[in-house]
């Protein structure tokens, strides 16, 4: 049946079509947001609320003596005061005081990130290239490679801590059996840092391998065939085909790796607890110690978190510019 509509003109019917289209899109969008609502609320509670609270507390002198507490039926109100940017000045001043713990923490953090990222990438790419070939037991190797990743971090930490024990640990026992000098994994700050870096490299390789392997497998084989027809050496193939094709993947995976390495806590805390006299603390674990070990200076911890957030944000922007990853290769 044909509807008799008043004022039926071509322009108004197009307008009505557009409104109906808009309404349909709005309905779909609203429905999508309704499904996303639990996730948004969870993110807001777990991520946004602590972030905002930390940000606000970083401008106060909040610690365990003056925050609001609820003891039984009595609730004591908070008595911390607004102190402006003093916490930030304390942190940054510590970074520039020669020989202070805070300055050592900065150097340790840089060493930690650079060493971990470089070796994660080298070992990851190397293993991915090897596993990309057809070989026997390839599936077995790939499964074994997942073990460090599948293992809970604290299990790995305790296992390595046992190996590193200077009296009875297997590594020093083997070294002494070979008449080599024992290594002070727990007593020498430099070796302690090397020790936790080794553990974290070991833990981080699988992720690199899996992601880079996926990237390698998406490179069309015709490119390699064309290159071998043009008698390119394997190094030239690697440099001119593999690396450029992998570039978006490399950018993403190294960025993620650097951010995750920065945020590693369990490995350092469980093996050395920040190490001989705070010499294996990174900025992240040191901030935790300030915030949560007695006297639990929440204001200072908040200042550390905001500074860490700023550092990581600035790094992400610079890094993406550096690799110009927004330009796709093909």
């Amino acid at each position: 049946m044909t509807a008799v509509v008043k004022n039926a003109s071509p322009s108004s019917s197009i307008a009505r079509l557009e409104t109906r289209e808009r309404k349909k899109r709005l309905k779909v969008t609203l429905r999508a947001y309704l499904w996303l609502l639990p996730l948004i609320i969870c993110l807001a509670v777990i991520v946004v609320y602590p972030l905002v609270t930390g940000f606000i507390l970083s401008f106060t002198n909040a610690d365990q003596t003056n925050i609001a507490v609820q003891i039984g039926s009595v609730s004591y109100p908070a008595t911390y005061k607004f102190i402006g940017l003093q916490n930030y000045f304390t942190v940054v001043r510590g970074w520039f005081t020669a020989g202070s713990d805070e300055q050592h923490v900065i150097f340790q953090t840089i060493i930690w990130i650079v060493a971990n990222s470089i070796f994660h990438f080298i070992f990851g790419l190397g293993l991915a290239l090897i596993l990309n070939r057809k070989m026997r037991f390839r599936a077995l190797y790939r499964t074994l490679l997942m073990v460090p990743w599948a293992m809970p971090q604290f299990v790995a930490a305790f296992a390595w801590k046992f190996l590193y024990n200077q009296q009875g640990g297997y590594i020093d026992a083997v070294l002494q059996a070979l008449h080599l000098p024992a290594i002070g994994w727990g007593s020498d700050p430099a070796w302690a840092l090397v020790g936790v870096i080794i553990v974290n490299i070991w833990l981080g390789i699988p992720f690199m391998v899996v992601t880079l392997l996926g990237g390698l497998q998406s490179i069309p084989a015709e490119l390699y065939e064309a290159a071998s027809i043009d008698s390119a050496t394997s190094w030239q193939r690697f440099r001119h085909i593999t690396l450029p094709m992998l570039r978006p993947v490399i950018f993403l995976v190294t960025l993620l790796d650097i951010i995750w390495t920065f945020n590693v806590f369990a490995v350092i805390y469980l093996i050395t607890s920040g190490g001989p006299f705070n010499r294996t603390h990174t900025l992240f674990t040191y901030a935790w110690a300030q915030a949560f070990q007695v006297p639990q200076r929440y204001g200072l911890g908040g200042a550390y978190s905001i500074l860490i957030l700023l550092i990581l944000l600035i790094f992400t922007v610079i890094y993406s510019r550096m690799l110009r990853a927004n330009q796709t290769v093909y």
């Binding site: 429905r31 309704l34 499904w35 609502l37 639990p38 609320i41 969870c42 365990q64 003596t65 925050i67 507490v69 609820q70 003891i71 039984g72 039926s73 009595v74 004591y76 713990d101 801590k161 590193y164 024990n165 200077q166 009296q167 009875g168 024992a182 002070g184 994994w185 727990g186 007593s187 020498d188 700050p189 302690a192 093996i271 050395t272 607890s273 190490g275 001989p276 006299f277 705070n278 949560f292 070990q293 007695v294 006297p295 639990q296």
Partner: protein, 425 residues
């Protein structure tokens, strides 16, 4: 006009409710309904190690049998994290009703209003039965906030067989004898090391006190970097670096465990440790004959001074507990004379009640009487709210001195500077 198909209608309705239902399910925590009458459940956090726990659980069972309307839910907490965990829980009203707290934490917890004052529950006559030094740790601002469970201090623990093999007839009385004995142990190959320390400042304190130093005096003057303290720390460094009677370098990741295990398997001849570890030590391979463990006082320094830090554990009650009367009853039971005797017998630790020391089971316990005989060497630590925090700056600097990164004087000066800011806050 479009016809609303019932299927479509219900599909849309479910789309509205499913996300919200998931949300509420995720948000819902466990809320236990507490009935006003009926059995009361108390949460108890204990920090005893594996070797010391059985008698505690046994006592809890006895208490529950005597008080059928009270149930104790006992939970083990790692000693290293118990202080932070209790603080965090206390701030949000999720703390246990009763905690076995280190004596160094009680003043701080009390100053933060986390603890229930026990003056109304424990009579004066009851309080007079406790050793005054032990009870002093649980007093703050004129009120009593805990009941001491055990008191302890460090003693010289040694391997008697190793001593005989090295030709040492009696444990060293002075620090110079101590140095000679460590060298005898090593040169005669009676043990690989003469002495071992854990790397923590607590176990280096006896050296500081023996040479005339200290931590903080009762008027809050800092003693940790005076000449006596520096001399004491230098003596320890001499044992490690010059005399080479200790492991070349302390493994700080495993310092305490290595120290204890090395005494247990005969690798080291002497350590400083407290009664809490004796049950574990006696399970070592060289102590199958329990009389092989020797206990002696910390050797005296050149001026005749000596000292070992007094520690201990107390039962404290959370101020926000819903059942203060029942919690007080539990605490009174656990620190009653009979309970203390049972704990002393099983764990070789020192009771805190004078009446417990008249029991034959306690006095005949060689370990307990061994420690009790040298109680005069014990020195109380400062009972201030910042008492537990003193070690935050102390430990890293002692580690730096032992690792050779700082000189003894430099390390202790850094500690003094940190304590100055701490005490001023």
């Amino acid at each position: 006009m479009k016809q609303r198909h019932p299927k479509v209608f219900f599909a849309r309705l479910s789309m509205l409710f499913v996300p919200l239902a998931l949300l509420f399910a995720a948000c819902g925590g466990s809320t236990s309904a507490t009935t006003s009458s009926g059995p009361v459940t108390l949460n108890y956090w204990y920090t005893e190690g594996t070797a010391e726990t059985p008698v505690i659980l046994q006592l809890i069972k006895t208490f529950e049998q005597q008080n059928p309307n009270i149930h104790i839910h006992a939970q083990y907490q790692d000693f290293a994290q118990a202080q932070s965990k209790f603080t965090t829980a206390a701030q949000s009203n999720t703390a246990p009703d009763i905690l076995r707290s280190d004596v160094g934490w009680v003043a701080q917890f009390a100053s933060l209003r986390y603890l229930l004052p026990l003056d109304t529950y424990i009579s004066q006559s009851e309080q007079s039965d406790y050793l005054p030094n032990a009870l002093a740790y649980d007093k703050y601002n004129g009120h009593l906030y805990g009941l001491p469970q055990v008191t302890d201090f460090l003693a010289l623990l040694y391997n008697k067989t190793a001593f005989t093999k090295a030709g040492i007839s009696a444990p060293p009385k002075t620090m110079s004898d101590f140095e000679v004995d460590t060298q005898k142990l090593v040169s005669s190959h009676a043990s690989k090391y003469g002495f071992e320390t854990s790397g923590a400042s607590y176990f280096a304190l006896p050296f500081l006190w023996a040479f005339g130093g200290g931590m903080i005096d009762p008027s809050n003057n800092i003693l940790v970097n005076n000449s006596g303290s520096v001399a004491g720390l230098n003596f320890l460094l001499k044992l490690q670096n010059a005399d080479k009677v200790m492991p070349t370098k302390v493994d700080f990741n495993n310092g305490y465990n290595n120290m204890v295990n090395d005494l247990k398997n005969g690798t080291t001849g002497m350590i400083f440790d407290g009664p809490w570890e004796t049950s574990n030590i006696l399970s070592g391979s060289v102590f199958t004959d329990k009389s092989n463990l020797g206990i002696s006082g910390i050797p005296t320094g050149p001026t005749g001074a000596t000292g070992s830090p007094t520690g201990g554990q107390s039962y404290v009650i959370y101020a926000g507990t819903k059942h203060p009367a029942e919690a007080a009853k539990f605490v009174e039971f656990m620190s009653s004379t009979s309970s203390q005797i049972a704990i002393a017998k099983a764990n070789n630790t020192l009771p805190t009640r004078v009446s417990a020391y008249s029991d034959s089971a306690v006095t005949s316990n060689t370990i307990v009487s061994g420690f009790y005989a040298i109680r005069n060497t014990a020195v109380s630590r400062p009972v201030i709210p910042q008492g537990g925090e003193l070690f935050t700056a102390f430990d890293p600097n002692i580690q730096a001195a032992l690792a050779g990164s700082k000189s003894a004087a430099g390390a202790l000066d850094a500690v003094a500077a940190a304590w100055k800011t701490l005490l001023a806050s």
